[in-house]
């Protein structure tokens, strides 16, 4: 019994050694099998090509790494695509699995190509194969946090809401160009306006069959190029880019030099005194915009905004804002109710906020292709709409090992209509620990956002 076992072991070892031998590169690759060196076992190598295909066409991108693994998993072959999107291998006959992954960013969108083919049977006459890649598109730039609903001003026994801000976040591992991001909110500007949402007729949005979504009040954009590094953010002050805590202890400091300011300098009718900027904010961070509704300020709701960001260069955005012939007047008469038709295809991200105190009166303002669901906010409490963490994706990042902080306690689940981040990951604490956070991006505000108790930038 022992003898037999020993013989089998020697045979197996011999086979393994032979199988693991890395083929010698052929200086002159040829189409046919190479003659063996005499009595030793002859291993015939075949030249094969694996073409990457996406959405029915060759993905003609050079340099995409590809791996070929034999059936046993003992042998792997690495290659890269040529300009036509094909990778070449020289392998023995057999069945192989090939896989490829490619990530890129286009127009502010994060695009990942993933695919594999486990049926690559290399044999005489069978040398061309394909990998069909799935194309997964997600936004690079997302709304990480929206704070427009004000806080208490206990010393004065009142509330305070001049301290709104927006955080844009690069939800990818590639730098994101935010230069063409425009800032808008939908109409009606509150979620529970008396008279309801005039855009909803028979349960459908009037604009649903067309290609636009309402933009109300005005539109803002950057004046200068803005790039957001991977897994990083920028903060944009809505009205007062100052240290509000100097006056209102419960508020936030928006005077950090890295912050941006939705300036009124290019919009002469926005004359409200709440437009102030700290000396610390560089002039390059002053934003521009256009108003198409009468008013003295951008009327972002302080209790239930339907806020969104879109992609459009500033010249195009300005022209859109000023094209009175294309205004929509569903909301009512005159210049006080002008609504700009913003192309839905250009919408990058959106968040629908409902007033927690008026839930029974609230209605949606985005069509389902932009956003479903809502996040409820109780206004005047310093609460914000904060993005939930994509737990699976975040945990999958190797660099996050040991850096993620759990047991998130910043939510408001104990409040009426409150909510918290179901991932349990404390994003801000994790970021502070060096982790990279990938936030949930399902186009459902109910799944993507929760009501955060304290603004994330509040120290």
């Amino acid at each position: 019994m022992k003898k037999r076992f020993l013989l089998l072991a020697v045979a197996a070892f011999s086979l393994m050694v032979a199988g693991c031998e890395r083929p010698t590169p052929d200086p002159e690759p040829g189409p046919g099998p190479e003659p063996g060196p005499g009595p030793e076992p002859v291993v015939t190598l075949y030249d094969i090509a694996v073409q990457l295909v996406s959405e029915g066409s060759n993905l003609a991108i050079e340099g995409i790494p590809m791996t070929l693994t034999d059936e046993s998993g003992m042998a792997t072959y690495d290659g890269t695509t040529d300009a036509g999107g094909a990778a070449a291998f020289k392998v023995p006959a057999g069945t192989y699995a090939a896989s490829a992954t490619y990530k890129t960013a286009e127009d502010g969108q994060r695009i990942a190509y993933n695919g594999s083919n486990s049926s690559i049977s290399v044999a005489e006459g069978s040398t061309s194969f394909q990998i069909n890649l799935n194309k997964v598109v997600s936004q690079q730039i997302i709304i990480k946090e929206l704070y427009s609903t004000g806080c208490q001003y206990k010393a004065a026994n009142k509330t305070y809401s001049n301290d709104g801000y927006i955080i844009l976040y690069n939800n990818s591992d590639l730098p994101a160009d935010a230069s063409d991001i425009v800032f808008c909110f939908s109409a009606p500007y509150t979620s529970f306006a008396s008279g309801g949402n005039k855009y909803i007729v028979d349960g459908k949005f009037l604009f649903e069959s067309e290609d636009w979504t309402p933009a109300f009040g005005g539109m803002l954009w950057f004046k200068n190029p803005v790039e957001i590094p991977p897994y990083s953010q920028i903060v944009i002050a809505v009205f007062g880019a100052i240290d509000h805590t100097q006056t209102v202890e419960e508020s936030v400091d928006l005077s950090d030099p890295s912050y941006y300011w939705m300036s009124n300098t290019d919009i002469p009718q926005w004359t409200m005194a709440k437009y102030t900027v700290a000396e610390t904010i560089p002039i390059e961070h002053y934003m521009s915009g256009a108003a198409f509704v009468m008013g003295t300020a951008w009327a972002l709701s302080n209790n239930s905004p339907a806020f969104y960001i879109g992609k459009m260069d500033s010249a195009q955005a300005k022209a859109l804002c000023e094209n009175a012939d294309e205004y929509d007047h569903t909301l009512g008469n005159g210049a006080a109710n002008n609504v700009v038709k913003f192309p839905r295809a250009n919408v990058v991200d959106a968040v629908e906020v409902w007033s927690a105190a008026n839930m029974e009166k609230c209605y949606y303002r985005f069509s389902a292709d932009i956003n479903t669901g809502y996040v409820a906010i109780t206004n005047n409490q310093g609460h914000t709409a904060y993005r939930n963490v994509d737990k699976e994706a975040t945990e999958a990042l190797e660099e996050n090992a040991g850096k993620l902080v759990y047991d998130y306690a910043g939510g408001t689940e104990s409040e009426v209509n409150g909510s918290t981040d179901p991932s349990g990951i404390d994003a801000e604490a994790s970021i502070a620990a060096g982790a990279h956070i990938i936030y949930s991006d399902t186009n459902d505000s109910g799944k993507d956002f929760h009501q955060r108790r304290v603004a994330s930038i509040k120290k």
């Binding site: 026994n157 700290a278 009175a324 007047h329 009512g332």
Partner: protein, 1000 residues
């Protein structure tokens, strides 16, 4: 023509000459209380045709001499007694006439609790007496409007101002409440000198607030809704005459309670004894009232208080040297302390409060001298003064995250905010970030004085008598208030001082002459013609208005065919018809003449904030021009009325139809002037070489240039680059509206014959009312807070026919009826009434049309395209979306008016940028498709119940329950298709109780 004049002259001579200098007689007798036989001292006896009068002495004796031979009506009245009236034929001396008066209480079958028509008046006038006032427990005298035909009960709280609106709606144009005169004991409660009688945010002027008129001491209220005597000026809608208790009265204590209002009052009138010669020293009547009303019973903290003391002295000097020419004098003073106060309200912001004083001091003197001369019968002199203290104090919280600026500059120029200094002029005060309170005050202290002399001359003939009334009135209105100010300028918000006391007084001298001619046509038949002319001359020295004169002719004609006096057994017991026409002129108030100065404050620079959020702000201050229009004329009302009274088998029917046209309505109108200014953006000072902490900002007061200096002296001052902006500024002028407002209506009262077995009377009263207002004055409009296509401030101004809105007028109609069932049970001295109030028709429709009837708005074929209008389609034909265009427009760079629609159509293709700008002047009516639909509100009802019970002669108790079915239903609007709560139209269930104690 000459022949006609001669004939009339001869006729009048014949009528009067025979008797004018004929023998005169004396009427004398005694007046006593029927039940006890006690003499009724101070009872007044008036001979209606001759204007002769007397007052009973302590023994109840009276004597009137010089009475011409004629048929006349003898009227006797005294507080606490039922008025007595008889027609008597004077053909000899009448001695020992014994008149016995009934005590006025519920033991009488004739007690009434509704408004009574004044049967002898040639115009429409109604009186509500003490019994009715007590029965409905009036807390605010304006609540008696509910007793007029078609009147509706209102929420009886005092925390909201209330005014009389005679034949007009409170929300209507033409200032119906402002043009209604209110008098207390002949003292006009004018608010002409007030600066606060303008309805905030509107173009409407309010009438006299009736909240500070004590209700417990009112003896009667007469409401003249028709064409009044020329004696009454400075009004154009009607006259409300409130008479308080005078003379000797027992001590009366009244306690009232309702969920919102509590009242405690006491009054007593006592004689001061007699002189040695037996003549009276006079009577003083004093009244004290405390009333407290809250706006919300569940949170009874915001309250209105009324603490009023009233003293009236009256006497008749009829003995000694006055025996032949008795003189009746009275003098009164009334002081009121009170107002609105919400400081105790825990629901409001911590230390904030509103305290609005409603203090007043009224004084009056009146002397009526019976001269009985052939050329003068009575001489009456009246003097009165009403001073009001309407100081409003409001303590409010303020806060600012960055330093804020309060502007107080009065002159045009650029100002940079600086910290408050007690020694500086503080044109622009910088207030540090944080939170604070400040008390702002509006000090309005109007004074109205009046001096009047009136004579009358009665001539009595066999078939006619004639009374001529002539008088002179001088009134002076002046305000002594400080106007707007702050109790702490260092933390005050932006405001401008405007000292009301520096506004010159307004004087009005009026003269009037009225002839009241009565022709007896045999039997009860008579013809009464009253013709009068009033001339008002208003002079405002040291103002642009100067002298403004106006004439008010008025005519009343009444033909009486039958009176009940002689037709007890006939089915047609009474029949009379009347017609009136007249002009009544309303003087303006100071709110009309002097609009509050207004300023355009443009923030032209805001620096960056330092670490403590301090910023430097500069403003361009532009006083808005106010044109004191010297061409302004006084608002007037042309009134026409016809009426009829008849009595059919005991059912009395009174009808009055009227047509009123209000002309030259006071209105404040805008006009615009182009302007430019320099703005410096914050980016212009960013990056300057001077370190932020070393900067000192200043502004050139003329050019607006921002200059940044270096506190260290390292750098030379730098002038920041500015931008020139251009815009329009709106200014004000007082105008008279071009198009009149018309009102017409029909009022009826049907008092069915008393159901004797039940001792019940049923009254059916009501009113049909129609109102039309079409505003056609050109209105300019400039959209502020709007940019032009090129990024500059908006550069166009539109000129609109009528208002800058979809509609420029309104027509409304209403039909209201009341059914009142009153049962009197004299045996138990109780009276019970049930009133069903109904609004059977409530209709309104918005108008958008020109004076020639053509429409000024257009129907849209496609509501998303404002140029898809259909010129030939009517906006009144069903549901439609509409659009309204200005007639012309002008630009900031070229004041030439251009046709709007023509240019709009042209620029749509040729100049899209200008087209985009012009569209901002369009008024699209695309929100609702029912703007011009007829709006019928479904009928609604309310039922009120009142009961009054006297307990002996000492006490009485009244209880009422309004809307006692607690109607909380809904009404339907045919225009919107929506249902809404009826509580917008009728008060909620409400009740109250009053206990009166009388100590004889």
């Amino acid at each position: 023509m000459k022949k006609r004049v001669a004939l009339v002259t001869i006729f009048l001579f014949c009528v009067f000459s025979a008797n004018s200098f004929a023998q005169k007689y004396t009427i004398s007798g005694t007046i006593s209380e029927k039940a006890s036989g006690r003499p009724v001292e101070f009872a007044t006896i008036v001979l209606e045709g001759s204007e002769l009068w007397a007052v009973a002495d302590s023994a109840g004796r009276f004597s009137i001499s010089g009475v011409p031979a004629a048929k006349t009506i003898l009227n006797v009245s005294c507080l606490g007694y039922v008025p007595w009236s008889r027609e008597v034929q004077i053909s000899k001396d009448i001695k020992d006439l014994s008149i016995k008066l009934d005590l006025d209480n519920l033991a009488l079958e004739s007690a009434v609790v509704t408004a009574q028509e004044d049967a002898n008046s040639a115009t429409t006038a109604r009186t509500i007496d003490k019994t009715a006032l007590d029965h409905v427990q009036v807390m605010n005298v304006s609540d008696i409007s509910a007793l007029l035909p078609g009147g509706a009960t209102q929420d009886p709280t005092l925390t909201a101002e209330k005014q009389f609106n005679i034949r007009g709606g409170s929300a209507e144009g033409g200032n119906p409440s402002f043009t209604t005169a209110v008098e207390v004991d002949g003292v006009r409660l004018s608010n002409n000198a007030s600066f606060t009688n303008i309805v905030s945010g509107s173009n409407t002027f309010k009438g006299t607030n009736t909240n500070n008129i004590a209700s417990s001491n009112i003896e009667s209220v007469e409401v003249i809704t028709g064409v009044p005597s020329v004696e009454y000026g400075d009004m154009s809608s009607g006259v409300v005459k409130i008479n308080t208790r005078k003379g000797r009265t027992p001590l009366t204590v009244t306690m009232s309670s309702s969920p919102k209002t509590k009242q405690l009052s006491a009054s007593k009138g006592f004689a001061l004894g007699h002189h040695k010669d037996g003549s009276s020293r006079g009577v003083i009547n004093g009244s004290l009232e405390y009333t407290r009303s809250v706006s919300e019973p569940m949170s009874p903290y915001t309250s209105y208080d009324r603490k009023q003391l009233s003293l009236t002295y009256s006497n008749v000097l009829a003995s000694g040297r006055h025996a032949r020419y008795p003189l009746r004098i009275s003098a009164g003073v009334t002081g009121n302390l009170g107002g609105l106060d919400n400081e105790a309200d825990p629901d409001k912001h911590a230390e904030s409060f509103i305290k609005n004083r409603d203090n007043s001091l009224r004084g009056n003197f009146e002397a009526n001298w019976l001269l009985s001369k052939p050329w003068i019968t009575n001489l009456e002199i009246k003097a009165s003064a009403v001073y009001s203290d309407k100081l409003q104090r409001e303590n409010s919280p303020y806060s600012a995250a960055v330093s804020s600026t309060s502007l107080h500059a009065l002159a045009e120029g650029y100002y940079l905010a600086e910290d408050y200094s007690a020694t500086a002029n503080n044109d622009a005060v910088r207030i540090a970030p944080g939170h604070w309170y400040n008390t702002m005050c509006l000090d309005d202290r109007p004074l109205s004085t009046k001096l009047s002399v009136k004579t009358n001359w009665a001539i009595n003939g066999a078939i006619a008598n004639n009374k001529v009334k002539a008088g002179l009135d001088w009134t002076m209105d002046k305000n002594f208030g400080r106007g707007v100010y702050s109790e702490d300028l260092a933390s005050a918000p932006t405001f401008r001082t405007w000292d009301f006391s520096k506004v010159p007084a307004m004087h009005n001298m009026a003269a009037y002459l009225e002839d009241n001619f009565m022709l007896h046509l045999g039997g009860d038949s008579r013809l009464n013609l009253i013709a009068g002319l009033r001339s008002d001359n208003t002079y405002i020295p040291k103002s642009a208005y100067g002298l403004t004169s106006s004439l008010s002719p008025r005519f009343n004609l009444k033909y009486t065919m039958f009176t009940p006096a002689t037709r007890h057994k006939e089915f047609l017991k009474e029949f009379s018809v009347r017609a009136s026409w007249g002009v009544a002129v309303k003087q303006p108030s100071f709110s009309v003449l002097y609009p509050t100065p207004s300023y355009l404050d443009i923030n032209v620079f805001t620096s960056t904030a330092d670490a403590y959020n301090n910023v430097n702000r500069a403003y361009y201050v532009v006083p808005r021009t106010i044109e004191y229009n010297p061409a302004l004329i006084w608002q007037r009302n042309h009134q026409a009325e016809v009426g009829m009274d008849l009595n059919l088998g005991g059912t009395r029917i009174s009808l009055a139809g009227y047509y009123n046209k209000t002309l030259h309505i006071f209105t404040t109108e805008d006009f615009y002037e182009p302007m430019s200014y320099t703005e410096t953006q914050v980016s212009a000072v960013q990056g300057l070489p001077i370190a932020a902490n070393d900067r000192i900002y200043s502004v050139d007061p003329t050019s607006g240039a921002i200059i940044v200096s270096d506190v260290t002296g390292t750098h030379a001052p730098i002038t920041a680059e500015g931008i020139t902006r251009k815009r329009f500024i709106n200014c004000y002028t007082e105008e008279n509206e071009i198009n009149p407002i018309t009102r017409m209506g029909l009022e009826w009262i049907v008092d069915f014959a008393r159901i004797q077995p039940l001792n019940t009377v049923i009254r059916l009263d009501g009113s049909y009312y129609q109102y039309k207002n079409l505003f056609i004055d050109e209105t300019p409009y400039y959209p502020t807070n709007k940019a032009s296509y090129d990024g500059s401030l908006y550069k166009y101004i539109g000129y609109y026919y009528g208002e800058h809105s979809q509609s420029n007028g309104k027509v409304s109609k209403s039909l209201k009826t009341n059914l009142t069932i009153t049962t009197n049970i004299p045996s138990v001295r109780m009276i019970v009434s049930l009133k069903l109030e109904s609004a059977l028709l409530t209709y309104s429709r918005s108008l958008s049309e020109r004076l020639d009837g053509s429409q000024r708005s257009y129907v849209l074929a496609d509501k998303s395209d404002v140029l898809s209008y259909i010129p030939e389609a009517s906006i009144y034909d069903g549901e439609c979306y509409t659009v309204f265009f200005p007639d012309t427009y002008a630009s900031i760079d070229d004041p030439t008016r251009r046709p709007f629609l023509e240019d709009l159509l042209k620029t749509r293709e040729e100049d899209p940028q200008k087209y985009a700008d012009l569209t901002n002047l369009i008024v699209p009516g695309t929100t609702y498709n029912y703007t011009f639909l007829k709006d019928y509100i479904s009928p609604y009802f309310s039922a009120n119940f009142s009961v009054t019970k006297e307990i002996g002669d000492m006490a009485s108790i009244s209880f009422y329950a309004n809307n006692f079915f607690n109607n909380m239903g809904q009404v339907y609007s045919s225009k919107t298709g929506n249902y809404s709560s009826v509580s917008s139209y009728i008060p909620r269930f409400y009740y109250g109780i009053t206990l009166r104690l009388k100590f004889n």
